[in-house]
């Protein structure tokens, strides 16, 4: 971090604040009639791995975009390292993002670059480090995710699990204070899933960073996270440690943990009664 190019704004981020991220009454929607998030409160303490869980379309990824400043809340505040994200100008936002890593759902690796160059990319773009040092750092990151032998492969030559590990190595390339993972387990086989899960935990502890994991994989999450928020229809409807989640009698949490097809999250999309539907066609 000491070698970051001097392009950041003068905004001071408090990397020592107790909470890495705070969402205070955050409301967001693409149009006013259908809010994606409604008055969400969330606290992500520094050094912890926190999962945000919920069904598809519940607003989980939107929370990550709000934390990263890609979206701005309609109401409420998103505070990262003591700074309100909405108050940052573009330079301030880029200053924040230099200290945040993000793993996208399918890796988002640059397809025209090799694995090595993908991980070196943020170092080359954002630091003044010499090539020799970048080379050593990239090999260290690759070694950490077990892919040092794949350095010269192109992303198209990687399996889904390997691509996710490379993306993880790229996300932690500059030793960020906060790492955000968007569906890191999606589409992975059980072995890769376990590997990625353990890497998230190990990297977080080794780097002393904070991790926010958006996922709907309850079993892997219970193994690696410190705290879980459950989000449904734009609201936090349950939260707790893995032990509290396992013991929970909350109907939504039970449906999620037990994988029940019907419950608080209904099997059927809202529609008029089936009989009325048939009658309408018959008439």
């Amino acid at each position: 971090m000491a070698h970051l190019k001097h392009r950041a704004s003068s905004v001071a981020f408090d990397a020592q604040s107790a909470n890495a991220v705070e969402l205070k009454g955050v409301t967001f929607g693409y149009d006013r009639r259908r809010p994606v998030l409604a008055a969400i409160d969330m606290t992500i303490p520094r050094g912890k791995v926190v999962a945000i869980m919920g069904a598809s379309g519940s607003g989980k990824t939107t929370i990550l975009r709000l934390i990263g400043g890609q979206l701005r809340p309609v109401k409420g505040r998103v505070v990262v390292a003591g700074q309100s994200v909405a108050d940052l100008d573009r330079a301030g936002l880029f200053g924040l993002r230099r200290r945040v890593g993000m793993l996208f759902q399918f890796g988002a690796l640059f397809t025209d670059l090799t694995v090595f160059e993908n991980i070196a990319f943020p170092m080359r773009e954002l630091t003044d480090l010499p090539d020799e040092l970048i080379r050593d750092l990239v090999l260290m990151k690759l070694n950490a995710v077990g892919l040092r032998g794949s350095a010269q492969l192109k992303p198209s030559e990687l399996s889904g699990g390997m691509a996710r590990r490379v993306a993880l190595a790229r996300a932690i390339a500059l030793d960020p204070m906060l790492v955000m993972y968007d569906e890191p387990f999606a589409g992975l086989d059980p072995i890769s899933l376990g590997v990625v899960g353990q890497l998230i935990r190990r990297m977080n502890d080794a780097l002393g960073s904070t991790s926010v994991v958006v996922t709907h994989d309850i079993y892997e999450s219970l193994k690696i996270v410190d705290y879980i928020y459950f989000v449904s229809e734009g609201r936090v409807i349950a939260k707790g440690t893995p032990d509290e989640v396992r013991a929970s009698t909350d109907p939504f949490v039970r449906q999620f943990v037990d994988g029940e097809p019907d419950g608080p999250v209904p099997f059927h999309v809202r529609a008029r009664p089936l009989a009325a539907e048939f009658a309408a066609h018959a008439g």
């Binding site: 990263g68 890609q70 993002r97 988002a108």
Partner: protein, 268 residues
């Protein structure tokens, strides 16, 4: 019912017009954003050089082959018409002027829009679809500086060079057909061409045209890619739009530029 249909038609026309105006305004702002982000990318020469390779060098085959055939066809057609009026000696100057002033920039521009423009749009569109642009933004790297501006300038620099090569190859193969096959006199061919084609205004006007076409095609290509819907269908639509809008823009701009240049050459 007819009134309803008419109303719907008017609404659709109005919405389409508003959408088009909004998009043109957005494209203008996008162009300004590219210019303001250009110094950072131009200073990193490697980025633009790489795009010159992809847009320019990789388009060479299609441009040179097209120049070859266009030059040969022009020689055959031109000689046939000119000979009827006893002006067969003017073959060289006729074909050279056609190529340098008009066909070189226009045909090379159309081919460039199809080959390089569509590739630029598809590449940027796919980068958007696969979250590569979002990943770059989240790394505090501005895609306008790192991705869009180098591709824009790579294309803008390539276009006049490709048009010039198109004309050179066309003239060379025109000479082969006219002199070697048809039997026109070689000395007269080259002599009349040297006397009839001037650097100013003929070649200069061709260069100006190809530069303008390069800016237009490259702006359309990067804009369509950057604003493509992040789906397979969205990228396909954007790529098609680049070729269609780019080609029409070249033809329309060619007419406008020719009017001004024709006036500049003393026509009334």
């Amino acid at each position: 019912m007819p009134a309803d249909a008419l109303g719907r038609g008017v609404r659709r026309l109005g919405a389409g017009t508003i959408n088009a105006v909004v998009r043109i305004g957005y494209a203008a702002r996008f162009f300004v954003a590219i210019l303001t982000h250009s110094p950072q990318s131009i200073l990193r020469v490697g980025l633009t050089t790489r795009e010159i390779y992809f847009a320019g060098v990789l388009s060479l085959v299609i441009i040179l082959l097209s120049g070859l055939f266009v030059g040969m066809v022009l020689a055959l057609q031109g000689f046939d018409v000119l000979e009827k009026y006893g002006a067969g000696d003017s073959l060289g100057v006729f074909v050279a002027l056609s190529l340098v002033r008009e066909l070189g920039p226009v045909v090379a521009g159309l081919l460039f829009a199809s080959r390089a423009g569509s590739a630029i749009t598809a590449e940027i569109g796919l980068m958007k679809t696969t979250d590569q642009l979002a990943a770059m933004e989240m790394m505090a790297v501005d895609p306008l500086s790192r991705i869009v501006a180098p591709r824009f300038w790579g294309g803008v620099i390539s276009m006049p060079l490709l048009a010039a090569l198109f004309s050179v190859v066309g003239v060379f193969f025109e000479n082969i057909v006219g002199v070697r096959l048809i039997g026109a006199d070689s000395g007269t061919f080259w002599g009349n061409m040297r006397a009839g084609v001037g650097f100013w205004p003929d070649i200069t006007n061709g260069i100006i045209k190809s530069c303008v076409f390069g800016v237009a095609v490259c702006l359309i290509a990067v804009f369509e890619g950057y604003t493509a819907k992040p789906t397979a269908e969205g990228v396909a639509t954007a790529t098609t739009r680049t070729v269609v809008i780019g080609s029409l823009a070249i033809l329309a701009l060619d007419f406008v530029l020719t009017v001004f240049m024709f006036r500049g050459m003393g026509a009334k």
